[in-house]
């Protein structure tokens, strides 16, 4: 049984769509987990739901106008990301804005779809993703993200570490907090939109948030957290994809479950064996309840 299955796997890996999907996932594992680190750091978890809805609106507009739906989704997400940036002064403000954006975007999407009379199932297919139909344009998007995100992160890592620790401290340290937040939110939005094609909007977390959540527990500073996130992302994407191929299961859910298992496993490691200097009891209690 095992021999048969691995033979199948070898055959499948020779198929171009499979190779392309695997390559896309590898590229995604370089850029997207760092975006996840930013999402966790800025405490804007709802952003991915909001962007998912905005992407749907973009697709609806694309279907209506005849433009490339994926391109429209990217542009819509980028605009939305930049649009909510002024509300980022407080994390609460941003979360609220995300909620508003989410409801308005989905309402607008449904309206556009119904007014234009296009078949809505095309738009909703986006929610499930189709990794084996990844096209050249999608590869370019994740490829660009795989270069731009780590480069930007490395270039601005000191500013980022200060911003994610405390906005006011960053401000007083000469970090240009406003522009940096806009860039981060646009990047987050575009990355989420780009990842939608790979796993589907509902499962974007596997590529972004989940590696970051596991890494948050393993790293002691921003740079080590980001490195852990990328390492976990690569490991999860490769194993998840191979398992999915091997068992002939849909890749999206398998990727999410693999990533989720890693997060759970990491949280089962006692904190004392991770940090070389164990924090005092109150700090340990608050970090585990977070």
């Amino acid at each position: 049984m095992n021999v048969l299955a691995t033979a199948d796997l070898g055959l499948m890996l020779q198929l171009v769509p499979v190779q392309r999907a695997g390559f896309a996932l590898l590229l995604a594992a370089v850029g997207l987990p760092i975006v996840g680190v930013v999402i966790v750091g800025l405490d804007i978890m709802p952003v991915r739901f909001a962007m998912m809805h905005v992407a749907l609106l973009g697709v609806a507009v694309g279907l209506l106008t005849g433009l490339d739906p994926m391109l429209c989704a990217l542009v819509a997400c980028a605009l939305a990301g930049a649009g909510v940036a002024p509300l980022a002064r407080t994390p609460d403000g941003l979360s609220g804005a995300m909620g508003l954006l989410m409801s308005m975007a989905i309402a607008a999407a449904l309206l556009v779809l119904s007014v234009s009379g296009v078949n809505a199932s095309g738009a909703f297919a986006l929610l499930w993703g189709s990794i084996l139909s990844v096209g050249g344009a999608d590869l370019v998007v994740v490829g660009v993200l795989a270069v731009v995100v780590p480069a930007l992160f490395w270039w601005r890592r000191r500013d980022l570490a200060l911003l994610l620790y405390d906005r006011e401290l960053a401000q007083c340290s000469g970090v240009r907090v406003g522009p940096l937040t806009v860039v981060l939110l646009v990047l987050v939005a575009v990355a989420v939109a780009g990842a939608i094609k790979l796993t589907g909007a509902l499962l974007v977390d596997a590529l972004t948030l989940l590696p970051a959540l596991a890494a948050r527990r393993l790293g002691k500073r921003l740079t080590t957290i980001a490195l852990w996130a990328v390492a976990i992302g690569v490991a999860v994407n490769v194993t998840g994809f191979l398992i999915a191929l091997w068992l002939d299961w849909p890749p999206g859910p398998v990727l999410v479950l693999t990533a989720g298992a890693v997060v759970l496993a990491v949280h089962l490691i006692p904190e004392r064996s991770i940090t070389s200097c164990p924090p005092p009891a109150p700090a340990a209690a608050s970090s585990s309840s977070r």
Binding site: V40, G41, L42, R158, Q171, G174, K220, R221, C277
Partner: protein, 205 residues
């Protein structure tokens, strides 16, 4: 500062404050909790918006981005309640952010927290964290800041620490505005101002 007014929502926290601090002068701001002292300091830093009046530091306002950047370089800050962030930041990274890493590291050693550089800030005690911020501010001064704005810089420290911190603060060759409830620290200042219900008044000495 001339006619500075600012508030939290509709509540007026600072009400028409006029204050002129000469270069090199050391001013202590005292007053009850909630009287607007911290808000006043934060306004100078540009962390809190004022609804009326003008704030000039070194004769410069904050009209342009360049002015605001200059203000942030010119003012070293010791926050009242240092935020414990969502993400870990190493103590060393905090010290380096002041612009003069070596001087800040030296100050941290002098304040007894030099060995904690590799520790994330959220694992430090309140007093250790306050010393770190103090060391960072000393680094800011070394990097060219001419004003030190300190918000209860000795509140979390033990008695010996308060003495040390006051010594370190007063030894700096800069203009100092310090919010404090620490009488010993206030007495070392050239002027003591008392704030009540958003208004400022000079305390006769």
């Amino acid at each position: 500062m001339r006619g500075v007014t600012c508030g939290h929502g509709r509540v007026v926290a600072v009400d028409g404050v006029d204050l002129e601090v000469a270069a090199g002068e050391r001013v202590a701001l005292t007053g009850t909790n909630g009287s607007g002292k911290s808000t006043l300091l934060r306004t100078v830093l540009g962390l809190h918006r004022h609804t009326a009046g003008t704030v000039l530091v070194g004769g410069r306002g904050t009209a342009s981005a360049a002015d605001r950047a200059w203000r942030r370089r010119a003012c070293a800050w010791v926050p009242q309640k240092p935020a414990v962030g969502r993400f870990p930041l190493l103590a060393g990274e905090l010290l380096d952010s002041g612009g003069a890493p070596e001087r800040a590291a030296e100050a941290a050693r002098a304040l007894g927290v030099g060995a904690l550089r590799r520790r994330p800030l959220d694992t430090l005690s309140g007093g250790q964290l306050q010393r770190m911020y103090l060391a960072r501010a000393i680094g800011c001064v070394a990097a060219g800041a001419g004003v030190l704005l300190a918000d209860e810089p000795t509140a979390a420290l033990d008695f010996a620490g308060q003495e040390e911190a006051a010594e370190a603060l007063m030894a700096l060759p800069v203009t100092v505005v310090v919010v404090t409830h620490d009488r010993a620290l206030a007495e070392r200042c050239d002027r003591v101002l008392d704030m009540a219900a958003g208004r400022l008044r000079e305390v006769a000495r």
